[in-house]
């Protein structure tokens, strides 16, 4: 539960960023100031993509990370295939495939741009999260599991109440770095026409013929967001190291 509260803090921090951007961007000199709304809309979409893909990806990563450590061959096989596939192919290809190719395979897989991008991003970050969670689970001392089963907890109870909560703590640094990577990788959603932050930058820059200030602004916004995400994760990491 505490993790979720911290996650809540992280997104609250991002809301604060928007307030700052809302006031700071319009005050910027041309050609930024007059197009501040455009940048903010783009940044919002970037954050929406990151949020949904991040939450679903954490869930997927947890399931796959746990499955990879099971004795059951089918579970382990499915999880291993999933991580192999999504870590071994470019995210751009994954996004294009889900948006353009899946509807050809079956019309029931027809998604709008935003949904397709979220699915692709979630599947991709989930594959990386799976490895982080698996590593965390392996690092939980064996004595913790032994104590849990000795108290009569079932394997599932042991996972839910003992090993996973400890694995999450251990996995926070790699999970945060996956989240930061996800935020930046969401720029690939522009390939299917989603007007997220980097596509806004691209359009405004070619429209105004002033790439330097425009792209610097875009990069600056990304930097502010990733900095806040990393900073929000710091207290969590401290907790992992036992500095309560």
């Amino acid at each position: 539960m505490k993790q979720l509260i911290h996650l809540g803090f992280a997104f609250a921090a991002i809301a604060v960023i928007f307030l700052i951007l809302n006031f700071a961007l319009p005050l910027c000199p041309e050609p930024i100031g007059s197009r501040a709304d455009l940048f903010i809309t783009g940044a919002k979409l970037t954050l929406v993509l990151t949020f949904y893909a991040g939450v679903i990806g954490l869930l997927l990563g947890t399931l796959a990370g746990v499955a990879k450590l099971q004795k059951n061959l089918l579970l382990r096989g499915v999880a291993t295939f999933y991580t192999w596939l999504f870590r071994g192919t470019p995210l751009l290809v994954q996004i294009l495939f889900i948006y353009f190719a899946l509807p050809v395979v079956s019309p029931s897989f027809q998604f709008d741009e935003q949904t397709a991008a979220i699915i692709a991003l979630a599947l991709n970050v989930g594959a990386y999260n799976a490895e982080a969670i698996r590593g965390g689970l392996i690092a939980v001392p064996k004595g913790q599991t032994e104590a849990a089963v000795s108290l009569g907890l079932s394997p599932v109870q042991t996972l839910v109440w003992i090993t996973l909560p400890q694995a999450f703590r251990i996995s926070i640094p790699p999970l945060v770095s996956n989240l930061v990577a996800l935020l930046k990788d969401s720029s690939l959603a522009s390939s299917i026409g989603l007007l997220e932050l980097s596509l806004v930058g691209n359009r405004v820059s070619s429209e105004t013929f002033s790439p330097v200030p425009v792209l610097l602004t875009v990069a600056g916004i990304y930097l502010v967001i990733t900095s806040v995400l990393t900073a929000a994760a710091l207290p969590l990491e401290k907790k992992v190291r036992g500095e309560k």
């Binding site: 001392p141 004595g143 913790q144 032994e146 104590a147 849990a148 089963v149 000795s150 108290l151 009569g152 907890l153 079932s154 109870q157 109440w161 003992i162 909560p165 400890q166 703590r169 036992g242 309560k244």
Partner: protein, 243 residues
């Protein structure tokens, strides 16, 4: 009444035999000290009794249930507590939460009820004032006492102690042994793997000596220390009692 019976238990780690046919019986309310040199199989034997280690051959019956071939051990484990050398308290939970976990999840007690039980047990082992702390914030002796309280919370009929004081300094050893003494008086059936000869002599109703995966001697404390005929036991005792 026998609460624990093993017959001809064998166990091998790779090619290394650890248990070479252990047959053993414990009656209700007995306090049995298990001693022996390192690698003699005493801890492994203890771990087979609640299924933490699977045996290769032989039978284990605990409270009438077959442990050696059981598929679902969680029911029998509620009745057989286990206390570890390294405490193994759950590091992400407070002491109180450590003790409350099994009553809530296994015995399905209400939270308030589990908390009352936990606090009562924590004061019984003398660490109620540390209930809100995390395991890393208290001493080893306090951690082991918390681990004992955690085990007692399931109201077990038998508790297995695997070298409960081996990771502790003498002062902390004493405080844990005090708790064990009190438990022994309460009528709990206890199996204690230990190197504390004084404790074994004073508290145990029986002492069992393991060597090379077998029970070599099994007697009442007085007879055990005074009339030991077995040369290996004599050698072990002479080495350990010198210090």
């Amino acid at each position: 009444m026998s609460v624990l019976v093993t017959r001809d238990v064998h166990k091998t780690f790779g090619t290394q035999p650890v248990l070479n046919g252990v047959s053993f019986t414990a009656d209700k309310s007995e306090v049995i000290a298990i001693i022996g040199p390192s690698g003699s199989g005493k801890s492994t034997f203890l771990r087979t009794l609640n299924g933490l280690e699977k045996v290769d051959r032989g039978s284990i019956k605990v409270l009438g249930r077959d442990v050696a071939n059981a598929t679902d051990l969680s029911r029998i484990r509620g009745k057989v507590g286990f206390v570890f050398q390294g405490f193994n308290l759950f590091s992400h939970l407070t002491i109180l939460q450590n003790v409350m976990l099994a009553p809530i999840r296994v015995l399905k007690l209400k939270r308030a009820e589990a908390e009352r039980l936990a606090l009562q047990l924590l004061s019984r082992v003398g660490i109620a004032e540390h209930a809100g702390k995390y395991p890393s914030q208290i001493s080893g002796g306090q951690q082991q006492r918390a681990a004992i309280a955690r085990t007692l919370a399931l109201q077990p009929e038998i508790v297995l102690f695997d070298e409960p004081t081996s990771a502790l300094d003498p002062e902390m050893t004493a405080e844990v042994l005090d708790v064990l003494r009190e438990l022994a008086k309460s009528g709990l059936t206890m199996l204690v793997v230990t190197h504390e000869m004084g404790f074994a002599r004073e508290v145990a109703s029986r002492i069992v000596f393991f060597d090379q995966g077998k029970i070599v001697a099994d007697d009442q404390p007085r007879a055990f220390f005074e009339n030991s005929e077995n040369p290996r036991l004599k050698l072990f005792l002479s080495r350990i009692l010198k210090h």
